[in-house]
Amino acid sequence: MADATDAGWGYLANAPGFVRTSGPAVLTSRFAFEDSYTLERSLATGGYEGLRAALRRTPAEVHEEVRQASLLGRGGAGFPAGVKWGFCPDGVWPRYLVVNGDESEPGTYKDRLLMERDPHQLIEGCLIACYAIGLSQCFLYVRGEMALAQERIAAALNEAYAAGLVGAGVLGTDLSVDIVLHWGAGAYIVGEETALIESLEGNRGMPRLKPPYFPAAIGLYGRPTIVNNVETLANLPWIMEHGAEAYRGFGSEASPGTRLFSLSGHVRRPGVYEVEQGVTTFRDLIYGDDFCQGIRDGHELKMFIPGGGSAPWFFNEHLDLPLEARPVGAAGSMLGSGAIVVMDETTDAVKACLRLVRFFANESCGKCTPCREGTSWEEKILQRIYDGHGRPSDIDLLLDVGDNISPGPYPAASFEAEGLEAVPFPPLQTTICPLGPSAVAPIVSAIRRFRHEFEAKITRGDGIPVRAEVSA
């Protein structure tokens, strides 16, 4: 691991987004360099050493090493990558690796930095995965809006092809891998892996029906397909170079390694932080000097979203939870994609809720009824309440429509003042994919905790409906 020199840090002064900490830098070691995205810098700082290390071993050994490292998927579900790789049915070829670079969860921007700042690390990770699973074709699906990431990956791929790192006979071995860069067209739902596969095939980005539950059985073009998140794969070079043992030295037993968290909102120093999983707490991250350095001056924490817009909200009493999937899930939310949005007391809970629900209503793909109709209905009710046209019954209506999207008690943090216990994650759903239930998270969170804010907005109670416009 090459550490950044002090000389490189000047660049970051003008580029908020990544903040270096004193902790380990598994994924971000090269971020300090202004030319971190070039092959030259990558090679000068140990780039492709992990690949060389992998190629010295058999694919099965590489696979085993990843399994030993307990590398958890970083896309949100946290499924162990080594186990997922094993789901490919034996003897079925061809099979594909698809890299999910459609990062679009509200509040998340860590994959974008990984792609912009160190595309070679990602390419190297792809090659290692392809070698381990026995693939020769990889598709890199990058979100449509991420122009710089697309540019840098394209340039990096050209460099890598020219250098014999990608293509036929990687590094002179008989490993041949083609990596195709695919630009998305801008849809949140394509972050869902089966919708991503549909989009990659040229169809409308809509989730496929389950079963089959994993594309590893039937995926892209009906073939076995492994879909991995950008950050997951970016871990592989380090694991290969330093070994699973060293990797497990970071983080906790259940969640080894480091992880990128994207912090935004009312903190002093927002940005992406590389954090050891499980041993760091929300409090460390939000208040620690090494991290966000606390809430902006003169204000105090009201609530925070621990894992992207789909996650139920957390509050002061959850600050000491470790950054680890299980305890966060038990407390009624999720770490998801590692996006923490911090809101101080100036935040209007109704408006925050409306803003999040509007996102999901806009991004619903339209495939299944509860999500398509339910989320936009919820948005309209919230808009009406926010505009002062709410009725007292609308609060319960919001909850009941939410219940029809996600039946049963919805995951939520405890609220002792009201005598409410935490409901653990994940939610149930009447929908095909989790997008619809995601829109319920802010509603249940906000009403459970800040019902008085909703009631305060319902002054007239006249129920004047939200106007519609005629579409062509």
Partner: protein, 838 residues
């Protein structure tokens, strides 16, 4: 079945036991839960699920509590297959709440304009809202608004506000019809079904989307605002428009047919119809229908045998005149052409009149565009289900099923695309199935026998291109290695003689004795006509004159002594003055006979033409006596489809004026000739048929009515007769071999009288392969001079890569270029010389 589209066939022996609301239910392995529940009497509400299409699980209406071990969970019952021990609760509180919730959300943006919606009264959304819904909506915002309705094509209108986005129409277009022209656009609550700009839903099958729409979003122009469903009366009948015999529901109100709907016959059309079958009823209701007999007369309505006009006449006089003309000549100078529009019973009555009473054997229901009846009956016969066997092999040696037999095309497409059937095409043009064919081989007219030789490694295929030979050899290999083989047999081109197809069919039969043949003769009840003896040399019941002679003894006054002529030969004789009376049973020979000049000359050469028809067609306009017949919705009877499957045709409305069923006309005419056919009803005809025809013995209307919707497949054939091989002249490489085919829509009389279909005929021009265009030194759209048997013509030429090199293609019976003027029926192929216009 990798994509989960149902095949319609399930292993019925094995069962898995599941529990539905506490009761044990035997389900078939792999059966969807929603279907198993419905069979056992528990209806689960649904909108997107359709038994003939792959499940999508979009509407979420069919969510029920399912426990497969880990405890009950809400699952869409249209998506999960029954597994042993599955516990299902369709009435749990949780199920009810989820279904109420989904229904409420479906109605959130639905306009609830049921009172002005055509679907109101037969609307699944309306019905299920009444049965399952919460009854009241809590939605007070303004609903989604769209401009409406918008046409997606000239016959189908789309109201996007009513749409509940169930994906049925879009799935139909994609999975069933293969015309991906309607799609979801936009997303979230703004999602809409629409076409892309400038690309209308120009599918031959668009009407099916109207039928399967679970709301009133898609409406068909011919039915819009015509009736309320509760005012409709309906009968189940058979479409007689083409030889598939699709099962239909005929719906009428106030004695007018207002709609045809497809009925789901498992063995036939699976509920689908082509738009032509669906909308043709408009023609039957057209004011131009003949309402009484017509005879020659003058301009002011007086009857005059030499008059230039047709004037109305009483039935007695018209029949009398026809009888007089028939009595005044000998049997050998009488001919009967046509009869494919008729029911089996009417065909039998006319066969008895022509062959038994008049004694002529110059009788042919085919119009020079078919195949010899003995070959159709002599080759081993296939069924549609047999042809569509999963894993089977289909050899297409005939016309494009998409253009001629729409409902059959959908079955074949399903077999090839979803059930793994292997398709081998040997056709002069690419077809609607070419993109799915394992081997799609282009041949020129006259090369079919060579193609068969090339498939099986025989000699004598030397005149074919090397690439074609290799492709054919590969196709032959696929046949040898593949499953059961069905040959789809029909005329590949109207500009080559039937003998060329017959020779190739016999060669295929020699090479593959186990292969069966499905006739692609397209015209209505033509297979019934063959079975009823409306073909030269045949008697009712698939018998030759000699075989049947004894059987008809005492029942028919005569049986013709010698085999008569087929249509082309009749017309040749007529043109030479050898026919005195020509009876045309619904045959518009000026439009339907491929050799247009032959038909014209024949009409000129005949003394008396008697036309029995629905309309005053161009041919009928030249007749001496025109007798008005009742349309298929106005008669009772039965129909025989291309498999030999008999199903009922049921009368729904009254025939206009004094027009009457064809069998009655035959009875009346026989009476004037002093003969009693002995028929006072359709049942009388059937009783006699069952007595004389061994293949129809034991069948009667009760048996047919009691049969399932599929009808009764009549077994039995004839010994295969092998006509002498047809000679083909060597191909002159400077000439172009003419290929003439039909398209779904043409200028036929029924099309012209159906407002929904009238404007759809595409027109035609002379089309050659692009490299031939280069060879001629002309551009697409240039005028060339064509020299052929019909003389010299200046025509506009175009190009299409789907045409075989060295051939020139024209569509039949279209505006733009009259293919009938180019065809010479006396030659086995028609060659054209083409030159750049000076």
């Amino acid at each position: 079945m990798s994509d989960g589209v149902s095949t319609g066939s399930t292993d019925t022996d094995a069962t898995v036991t599941i529990t539905v609301n506490g009761d044990e239910v035997a389900a078939r392995p792999g059966e969807l839960l929603i279907d198993a529940c419905e069979r056992s009497g528990t209806y689960i509400p649904r909108f997107c699920h359709h038994p003939r299409m792959a499940p999508v699980g979009m509407c979420r209406m069919c969510i029920v509590d399912v426990d497969t071990g880990p405890g009950p969970a809400l699952q869409p019952s249209c998506m999960i297959e029954c597994t042993p021990g599955m516990q299902v609760d369709t009435r749990s509180e949780r199920t009810r709440k989820a279904q109420d919730g989904v229904l409420e959300m479906l109605l959130v943006n639905h306009p609830l304009d049921c009172s002005v919606c055509d679907k109101g009264g037969e609307c699944p959304l309306q019905d299920q809202t009444m049965t399952f819904g919460p009854g009241e909506s809590r939605f007070i915002e303004e609903k989604r608004l769209f401009l409406k309705p918008i046409p997606v094509n000239s016959n189908v209108y789309l109201d996007r506000e009513r749409c509940i986005l169930c994906d049925r129409c879009t799935r139909f277009a994609d999975q069933v019809a293969g015309d991906r022209l309607i799609h979801f656009l936009d997303r979230g609550a703004r999602t809409q079904v629409n076409t892309f700009p400038g690309e209308p839903f120009s599918s031959y099958f668009s009407g099916n989307t109207v039928q399967i729409c679970p709301v009133g979003a898609l409406t068909a122009v011919p039915y819009r605002f015509k009736a309320r469903p509760w005012d409709l009366q309906e009968v189940e009948s058979t479409s007689v428009l083409d030889s598939v015999g699709s099962r239909i529901t005929v719906q009428s109100s106030r004695d007018r047919v207002l709609r045809f709907q497809g009925a789901d016959a498992d063995a036939v059309n699976w509920g689908w119809l082509s738009d032509k079958e669906r909308f043709v009823f408009e023609a039957y209701d057209h004011p131009d229908r003949l309402t009484g007999p017509l005879m020659r007369g003058d301009d002011i309505g007086n009857r005059d045998p030499d008059g230039s006009a047709l004037v109305s006449a009483p039935w007695g006089e018209a029949l009398g005149a026809a009888a007089a003309a028939l009595s005044a000549t000998t049997a050998d100078r009488i001919a009967v052409i046509g009869g494919a529009r008729l029911t089996n019973e009417s065909q039998y009555a006319w066969a008895k009149l022509a062959k038994g009473v008049l004694g002529t054997d110059h009788v042919d229901a085919q119009l020079g565009d078919g195949l010899p009846a003995e070959v159709v009956l002599g080759l081993p016969r296939a069924t549609i289900d047999g042809a569509c066997t999963p894993g089977g092999t289909i050899v297409l040696l005939g016309p494009d099923p998409k253009e001629e037999l729409g409902a059959l095309y959908l079955r074949l497409r399903h077999a090839v695309v979803h059930d793994g059937a292997t398709l081998i095409e040997i056709t002069p043009l690419s077809t609607g199935l070419s993109t799915h064919a394992a081997h799609s081989v282009r041949i020129r007219p006259g090369e079919a026998v060579m193609a068969v030789e090339a498939m099986f490694g025989g000699s004598g295929s030397g005149a074919l291109d090397r690439a074609t030979r290799l492709e054919l050899a590969a196709a032959g290999g696929a046949i040898v290695a593949g499953g059961p083989v069905t040959v789809l047999l029909g005329r590949t081109s109207l500009a080559e003689s039937e003998g060329l197809v017959v020779d190739a069919a016999l060669a295929l039969n020699d090479r593959m004795p186990d292969a069966s043949f499905l006739s692609l003769l397209r015209r209505g009840n033509v297979h019934g006509a063959i079975d009823m003896g409306l073909a030269p040399g045949l008697l009712p019941g698939r018998a030759t004159l000699d075989e049947g002679r004894n059987r008809f003894d005492g029942i028919w006054p005569h049986v013709p002594a010698h085999r008569g002529h087929g249509t082309n030969a009749i017309l040749e004789v007529a043109a030479a003055g050898g026919i005195d009376v020509l009876v045309l049973l619904g045959a518009d020979i000026l439009a339907d006979v491929p050799d247009r000049s032959l038909a014209r000359r024949a009409l000129d050469g005949v003394r008396t033409v008697v036309a029995v028809d629905l309309f005053a067609t161009p041919t009928a306009a030249r007749a001496d006596i025109v007798l008005p017949a009742a349309a298929p919705t106005e008669v009772d009877g039965s129909f025989t489809n291309l498999e030999g499957r008999i199903s009922l045709v049921v009368r729904k409305v009254t025939a206009p004026g004094t027009s009457r069923p064809d069998w009655m006309i035959a009875v009346g005419l026989a009476e004037r000739l002093g003969a009693d056919l002995g028929f006072a009803s359709v049942d009388d005809v059937w009783a006699e048929l069952a007595a004389v025809s061994p293949v129809h013995a034991g069948l009667d209307r009760e048996v047919l009515a009691a049969s399932t919707r599929e009808g009764v497949l009549v077994p039995g054939g004839m010994p295969l007769v092998r006509p002498a091989p047809t000679e083909v002249p060597d191909r002159d490489r400077d000439l172009f071999r003419l290929v003439v085919t039909r398209s779904m829509y043409d200028n036929g009389v029924l099309m012209a009288h159906s407002p929904a279909l009238a404007g759809l005929a595409p027109g035609t021009r002379l089309v050659v392969e692009p490299s031939d265009l280069l060879r001629l030194g002309v551009n697409d759209g240039d005028t060339v001079v064509v020299t052929g048997p019909g003389g010299r013509l200046n025509v506009v030429v175009g190009s299409d890569p789907g045409v075989t090199r060295g051939t020139a293609h024209v569509l039949f019976n279209q505006s733009g270029l009259d293919a009938g003027d180019l065809i010479d029926a006396s030659a086995s192929v028609t060659d054209l010389r083409m030159e750049k216009a000076p």
